[in-house]
Amino acid sequence: MSLYFVFNNLHFALELIGALVFFVMGWLAIDAYLVNKHHSLVLRIIGFFLASGWQVINAFHFNNDIVNFFGFSGYILGLILIILSLISVPKIATVSAVLLLPSFSKAMPSFYLIAGILTAFIAVLSFRQCKREFNKSLRLFWIGFAFIAFSSFIQIFVGNDSLDNPLWYVIHVLEALGFFCFIFWVWQYIKLRVKESLMLIFVAMTLFIATIVTLAFSTILISKIEQQTKNNLLINTRVFDFSVNNFTEKSTAEAKYISTDKDVVQSVSTEDIANLEIILGRYLDSEKLGFLLVVDKNGVVLMRAHSPNERGDSISNERTVEEALIGNSFSTVEFSPSEKFSIRASSPIYQDDKVIGAVVAGFPLDNVMVDGIKKITGLEMTLYVNDTSVATTTMSNDGRSRLTGVSITDKDVKEEVLIKGGNTTSEIYIDDMLFLSSYIPITNGDGEIVGMFSSAKPQADILDIANSTNRLTLITVTLIILLLTLPVYAITRRLLDQAI
């Protein structure tokens, strides 16, 4: 299992601890309200619970803008309520006071800014209260908020959670420090009350166990999914390899067939360009070829059926044409000025046992081809000439252009595939996105490795499965634990009541 998933799970656990802490703080506020019935405490209770709700949403990484938007709005509202409750706090304050704001990263930096300012405000307010009342117990509270405020501000720079950003770790460390401050703060109150401690410990333990079970479960599941995805990717690249072989065979067969067409032979010998255009256009269409061209005995292009205006250039130095003009059929993968990187097969055209030209048929290995394969497999496909991508289905971050012209920097991939000619699967960053990617070499007609082919799946897709699994597992495990332990809790309370 990759580090990526380990950190994803750490994030999950930390945010859930945050949710728990907020929940307990809300609970304490309820407790305080039952004692002195001050209306400001109601605001605080709602505020804490809203913040707790946001932590849960943050932990699960919902890929739903509506949920995230409402969650974050709820969080901001919660913070405002907490501030209001602090401002309208009675002169002689009871224990529970300010609350903290956790940080969250989404696409809207301004949201983080608001959250940061609000948390900082809460920290200052609680600090003032702490000073005013010489209440040392509030110290942990405002320090915790200050940590959370810092982490919110830093989050502005991270935007979408990107695990490769060092700031991501700073944010989570600050957040963890903030939450620990809160935990200690909460504990100094509840440790004195048996019933409340019992209840809180019970709830906390339930969530804690549920989190552990969820993480253990998702760790196993994700490592399996990852392994399976790797296998699928490899199978997929082999399917591509197979279809390249098919295309090569088809091209060879078609080139041989077309080179024996009497009309073609006649048109080449008389250099009847207009007639060649008609005949070759018909073949291109009926035989479903990617491209089709005819050269004369000097290797000068007489007609390109796929691009009739481009002709008259010499391609005698290409391997396929070279071989055909000395009388051999030949197929390979090579680069040509007009069709670029392509599968090509040639066959000589004979008239009276003399080679008068050649037919070259084939399929371009271009963006259109990888698009066609992606439509079937659903995976991102990329073709490389040596280590540089020449055709891909992956779009850059702006969503407008394809990520072609990008070189692979991973030395292991280069060595395993381009030098040794084997397959490999590895995690790779392309334009700041992490992909799980499988590679196989592409060899030409002379057996040399000329490039490679890869199929890839964004790591984020696998992470989505992990997060949705976490969600479901946590809910199920919590319900099971509650069901199992409620009778024990009830009996313990009764015993306690009798004892007191």
């Binding site: 405020a149 810092f150 501000f153 018909r282 969503g399």
Partner: protein, 192 residues
């Protein structure tokens, strides 16, 4: 004031200042840097054959399947028309982006969306068919073999996309490649 609080508050103020400065200078918020491809509408105004708010010119062209489509067939519901060619990689990219979008949505939703038509500019049927087959693109393509319609629509750059409402009136013209978010938001403008 307590000295540690002073330190923390000063720290917070510094962080806020840095954030504001970076926002203003646009160093960090790369998504706010202007898009790579600008809509060049204003430059092209002089060469426009017709303008936003006007009705689109008449055309009558053949689909790859051989069926005839003319302008009156488009009236009654919104349409998006893109001019493209197989040799222009930007327009093939646009084709992929649009095709990916339409294949990702359910058929019931698709029936409520504008119809997308790609008019190929000055290429022969086998060439266009070849590309559509290889890329597995599921988009209606009309053939403007002699380029008359491209001329009537004032096409100078490919791809050029026209967003047309149900009355056949041009709502927006876009030159260059759109990402999927831009494409969707422009489609929403003509559904309204």
């Amino acid at each position: 004031m307590h000295s540690s609080v002073k330190i923390i508050l000063t720290g917070l103020i510094i962080v806020i200042c840095i954030v504001v400065l970076l926002r203003v200078s646009g160093i960090y918020f790369s998504e706010q840097i202007s898009p790579l491809i600008e809509n060049k509408d204003s430059e092209e105004e002089y060469t426009n054959k017709f303008m936003v708010g006007e009705e689109i010119p008449y055309f009558s062209l053949l689909l790859l399947s051989g069926e005839k489509v003319n302008k009156t067939d488009l009236l009654g519901y919104p349409n998006v028309i893109m001019f493209w060619s197989t040799w222009n990689s930007s327009s093939v990219d646009q084709m992929k982006i649009v095709d990916d979008y339409f294949s990702s949505i359910s058929p019931s939703k698709e029936s409520k969306l504008p119809r997308f038509i790609a008019i190929n500019s000055q290429e022969s049927k086998p060439v266009v068919e070849n590309l559509m087959r290889r890329g597995n693109y599921n988009i209606d393509v009309l053939l403007d073999i002699n380029g008359e319609i491209s001329n009537a629509y004032g096409i100078r750059t490919l791809p050029t996309t026209f967003f047309i409402n149900s009355e056949g009136v041009l709502v927006e013209k876009y030159i260059g490649t759109m990402n999927v978010e831009e494409f969707i938001s422009k489609m929403e403008n003509i559904i309204r």
